[in-house]
């Protein structure tokens, strides 16, 4: 039995030691696809969208500085609002006909500048997110890269609508799909209601994400995004379900306080 070396990785060496300088390393870190599915409909205009842009930029910098996440986490954004669904590769809105993956490594992530308008095509956005995650997993498998369970994070302040802005029950078709996908552990799905989301809006999120839904007071995007980083770290460590539940419990506590 040999003692182990305690690491001082608060400031680990930046470069390989001289004796090992000729080692060639690819970035074949295990990947963790993280897809943010964000509501940018007209109800997010003004302060909410400003706070979201600010939080995304700050989180992007924070995750780049986390040596454990920066090469592992891959970020993609799907927005719903404006003219419909937007798929973003970092700051670039992709052409809807594009076949390239929107996922970019966290160390290369630059946040987009989002603006709010239009309707709440939540259902279509979640379906797009699930498709992109499945495609990314296929790409990773084909290139021989290992990966962790992906995360999809839905954030909305409203009710799902159709393309004319009329409330719709189309979201109900997501319920069995999301349940089956999560039972098969294909990804983790988190749903956050923000701002003044209505009781009906909260009910939608409850049904989409029975265990991992939360309603947040105001627009605490930074807190929410940091939770996604914490969840990614937990995933890397192979944490058990109770760890993810604990990460969410503080949001549920906040909801109780808000409701009270």
């Amino acid at each position: 039995m040999n003692p182990t070396i305690p690491g001082p990785p608060a400031t680990p060496p930046q470069d390989l030691p001289a004796a090992y300088a000729d080692i060639e390393l690819d970035n074949n870190a295990q990947r963790l696809p993280l897809l943010l599915c964000l509501d940018i409909s007209s109800s997010m205009s003004g302060e909410p969208i400003r706070l979201l842009n600010e939080a995304l930029a700050l989180w992007g910098r924070e995750i780049q500085e986390d040596v454990g996440l920066s090469s592992s986490v891959e970020i993609a954004l799907v927005t719903f609002g404006g003219m419909g669904i937007g798929v973003w590769q970092g700051p670039h809105l992709l052409d809807p006909r594009a076949t390239i993956s929107p996922f970019v490594s966290a160390h290369q992530f630059r946040s987009p500048q989002l603006s709010a308008s239009g309707v709440t095509l939540l259902t279509e956005a979640v379906e797009t997110g699930m498709r992109l995650v499945a495609e990314r997993k296929t790409e990773l498998r084909r290139s021989g890269l290992q990966y962790y369970r992906p995360q999809i994070c839905l954030v909305t302040d409203g009710l799902p609508t159709d393309s004319h802005g009329m409330a719709t029950d189309a979201w109900r078709r997501l319920v069995p799909t999301l349940a089956a996908e999560q039972a098969a552990k294909r990804f983790r799905f988190y749903a956050f209601g923000i701002g003044g989301i209505s009781d009906r809006g909260q009910q939608v999120l409850r049904e989409l994400a029975p265990k991992y839904h939360a309603t947040l007071k105001g627009f605490p995007f930074r807190d929410l995004l940091q939770t996604m980083s914490a969840s990614a770290s937990a995933e890397q460590q192979g944490a058990e379900e109770e760890t993810f539940e604990q990460l969410f419990n503080r949001f549920k506590t906040q909801r109780s306080a808000w409701d009270a």
Binding site: M1, N2, I5, N28, G68, G144, Q236, G238
Partner: protein, 298 residues
């Protein structure tokens, strides 16, 4: 660095062995201990001295996996050393060797399950509402026995072994031994000694090759650096990594302690941490003298 002098560089009769485990970035950040462990012993049949090397990776999600990894190493080095050394003769053939390796693994498995149940009962973990039992001590285990002209390999979980054997176009050749089948879709899913199907999922192989003159054992914390997984669907040894870590043991510097520190610095470097923030263990062995000693497989 505390403990750096105890990484264990030992000269055996024909092999020079050095190993180290370092705490991963994520564990350091969260105040968790290093849950990897490694160890070595010798099987000593008459006229021979056969190194037994082992690495173990305790599950990050389990509360007592550090103890589990240490127990697994203690059991593996003891049991494999005893079982491979108890007979006067070398293994008669490959099947004989495979049988001995399987018997040794099953003995380790039984002792691990018994031992961890005993440890859970001792401190009343179950009574305090924790899950308790072997699952709390979950760990992988990879063992290599370096016989003369042969090598026995036993692995459960996602540890891996790379051999240096042969030269092509003047370049040493590196070979990744087949790993056990993956336990699931994701990179952090694996099989542990505490898993119900451990005896079914263990991978046991024998290599007969007089030219094996370098061996690397590692836990999965180094898989991204030591294997070139990103270049295609089939993982292979990263020759630059294997060549470098074995070269520094082939031609050690004047200070073994300095050599050990340099390897630790490699494992703790930002570049390796960025590839994998988990604990890391590397055990390396190089042959220091000529031909095989003792009985050979026919």
């Amino acid at each position: 660095m505390p403990g750096a002098t105890e990484t264990g560089q030992v000269k055996s009769r024909a092999w020079r062995v050095h190993g180290v485990s370092v705490q991963g970035y994520r564990h350091a950040q969260q105040g968790m201990p290093c849950q990897d462990a490694w160890g070595q012993s010798h099987a000593s049949p008459p006229g021979s001295r056969i190194p037994v090397l082992a690495v173990a990776d305790g599950a990050g999600s389990r509360p007592r996996s550090q103890e589990g990894a240490q127990l697994a190493i203690q059991l593996a080095t003891s049991v494999f050393g005893a079982r491979l050394g108890e007979r006067a003769s070398a293994p008669g053939d490959v099947e004989d060797l495979r049988t001995r390796l399987r018997d040794a693994f099953l003995e380790v498995l039984d002792a691990f399950i018994d031992g961890t149940w005993a440890l859970s009962t001792e401190d009343g973990a179950a009574a305090r509402g924790r899950r308790g039992g072997p699952a709390d001590f979950a760990t992988t285990l990879t063992v290599v026995v370096l016989g003369p002209g042969w090598l026995g390999y036993t692995s459960l979980g996602d540890g891996f072994v790379v051999l240096r054997a042969g030269v092509e176009n003047g370049e040493p050749q590196f070979h990744l031994l087949p790993q056990p089948e993956a336990a699931g879709e994701y990179g952090n899913e694996t099989t542990f000694l505490s898993s119900a199907d451990a005896a079914l999922r263990v991978r046991i192989d024998c290599v007969r090759d007089d030219d094996v003159d370098g061996v690397i054992l590692s836990t999965d914390g180094l898989a991204q650096a030591a294997l070139s997984g990103g270049r295609g669907p089939v993982p292979r040894a990263n020759p630059s990594f294997a060549a470098s870590v074995l070269r520094s043991l082939d031609r050690p510097g004047p200070s073994p302690r300095a050599d050990a520190r340099e390897l630790e610095a490699l494992l703790l470097s930002d570049r390796l941490t960025a590839l994998n923030a988990d604990d890391k263990t590397l055990v390396r062995a190089v042959r220091t003298t000529g031909g095989p000693v003792g009985g050979e497989l026919p």
